[in-house]
């Protein structure tokens, strides 16, 4: 009954929005195609900055969990012998490559900012056969990422801890009783996964990522040059007990004259309100495009010129969940001017379908 009502409401909303939209349903596919008109999410701190800077999604990423596995991976890739592999991707967290017998649960969930920085640090590295250059070179990228938040834990954790302790104690009381243990195991696992999830909810979270990418013609390590540099900063805050989320994002992208994208400095913010089945998000991104040129003014004078231009993107997004697999999305606002030219209006209506599960 409730499901039917949601579907009917969704259909009504679709008709209403279609009436005021300049575009038609299905045109939203162009939104992310050029990589510039993306929503604020595209500027968030990436999980694997080395891959993002490259613009690649490796089909196989090695994620070793021990120092030995890191060594084996590097050796088998050929890098340790000075050979640049064509397609290789690795990502690992140095802190978690070894065991920490003294790191109790309480110390971990109450970690200070500097402890979190070390614990969350992850390193990514990737190589890929060059797609754009005329030679048979290789592109290589390396990046790092970490996050920090104020010490403290989610207010939901103490109850989950108590429940997990009670279930674990009950299991210890029934060690020889397989039927009882099987029954308790599903509760234990459910609580464990809830605790994993709740540990990520620390209120204010600051994430930082940096990456470098370079091109190596003829696979010669001595003949390479840096082609892209990226810095990302994301500050998010989700007040407990509210349906609001605040997000601030900064991104610096330097392309070193490679490609036509120029160099970007993006700064943006978003406020999100989510009250199932409705999600409303308002966001603003200020973009500064800058280019540096060196000009010879006279025989002994050289001047550097930096040119700036700026534009912005401001949009409002409304997402209505029709059912678990289908939602209707409408966005309206102003897009970056230099990308879309005169037509910088955003007015898009789309239906998102989920398959499987």
């Amino acid at each position: 009954m409730n499901n039917e009502r949601n579907k009917l409401l969704g259909l009504l909303l679709a008709i209403l929005l279609a009436g005021i939209s300049e575009n038609t349903v299905g045109q939203s596919a162009g939104r992310a195609s050029n990589g510039v008109g993306d929503t604020l999410d595209a500027f968030r701190t990436p999980t694997s900055p080395a891959f993002v800077l490259f613009g690649i999604e490796p089909t196989s990423v090695e994620r070793p969990t021990t120092p030995r596995a890191v060594a084996v991976s590097l050796l088998s890739s050929g890098l340790a012998n000075g050979v640049i592999p064509n397609n290789y991707a690795i990502e690992f967290s140095p802190y978690w490559l070894t065991s920490h017998p003294d790191l109790t649960y309480d110390k971990y969930v109450n970690a200070t900012a500097d402890e979190q920085l070390i614990q969350s640090l992850s390193i990514s590295f990737a190589t890929s056969k060059s797609q754009s250059a005329p030679d048979s070179g290789t592109d290589m990228g390396a990046g790092l990422r970490f996050q920090v938040s104020p010490p403290g834990k989610s207010s939901k954790l103490p109850k989950l801890e108590q429940d997990l302790e009670n279930v674990s104690n009950a299991m210890l009381d029934h060690l020889g009783d397989k039927k009882a243990l099987d029954s308790l195991e599903s509760k234990r696992k459910d609580l464990t996964l809830q605790m994993q999830n709740e540990q990520k909810n620390r209120g204010v979270v600051l994430e930082f990522a940096a990456a470098l990418a370079g091109h190596f013609p003829q696979n010669d390590l001595n003949n390479g040059r840096i082609t892209h540099t990226g810095l990302w900063l994301t500050l998010s805050y989700k007040p407990e007990g509210t349906m609001l989320e605040f997000l601030g994002v900064g991104r610096l992208l330097w392309n070193n004259g490679v490609g036509g994208d120029g160099n970007y400095l993006d700064a943006g913010a978003r406020v999100l309100y989510e009250n199932d089945p409705i999600l409303v998000s308002g966001e603003f991104v200020e973009r500064t495009v800058y280019n540096t040129t060196i000009a010879q003014q006279s025989s002994n004078t050289t001047i550097g010129v930096i040119t700036f231009s700026s534009t912005y993107r401001a949009s409002l997004l409304i997402d209505y969940k029709i059912d678990n697999n289908t939602s209707l999305e409408y966005s309206f606002g102003h897009n970056f001017t230099q990308v879309t030219g005169i037509n910088n209006l955003i007015s898009q209506l789309g239906i998102k379908f989920g398959f499987g599960g």
């Binding site: 969990t65 967290s93 065991s99 920490h100 790191l103 109790t104 997990l164 674990s168 234990r188 994993q196």
Partner: protein, 116 residues
Amino acid sequence: MATTLNTSYNVKDANVSLTIIIGDGQFGSSAVLLDSEKKTNGHNITNYPLGSGSSLDGKTLRIVTIVSDTNPSTTNMDVTYQFKGGVADQNFSLSDAVASQGDALTFDASFVFHKV
């Protein structure tokens, strides 16, 4: 399948205490049994008094710990058993790793007390 340890701890007349440290940021709970008699259980067992060395002589302390993979950053698990008050303070440890996120492991350690 449990990860096991069978060993001994030398005691004197003095009181002996036990601390159980569950590492790698994971959450666990332990049951402590002395000659099959349950003495205590729970998540936090710190400086738990086991009794005098004389009263412990020849007895077996069994500690069963269920550790859940609550730490999303690693699947490693470590349990350290710290004994104080014996001939020498001594640490014993067990290590293992779960196969997948959210799983649990049982650590089963037995200590026979010998008075010297």
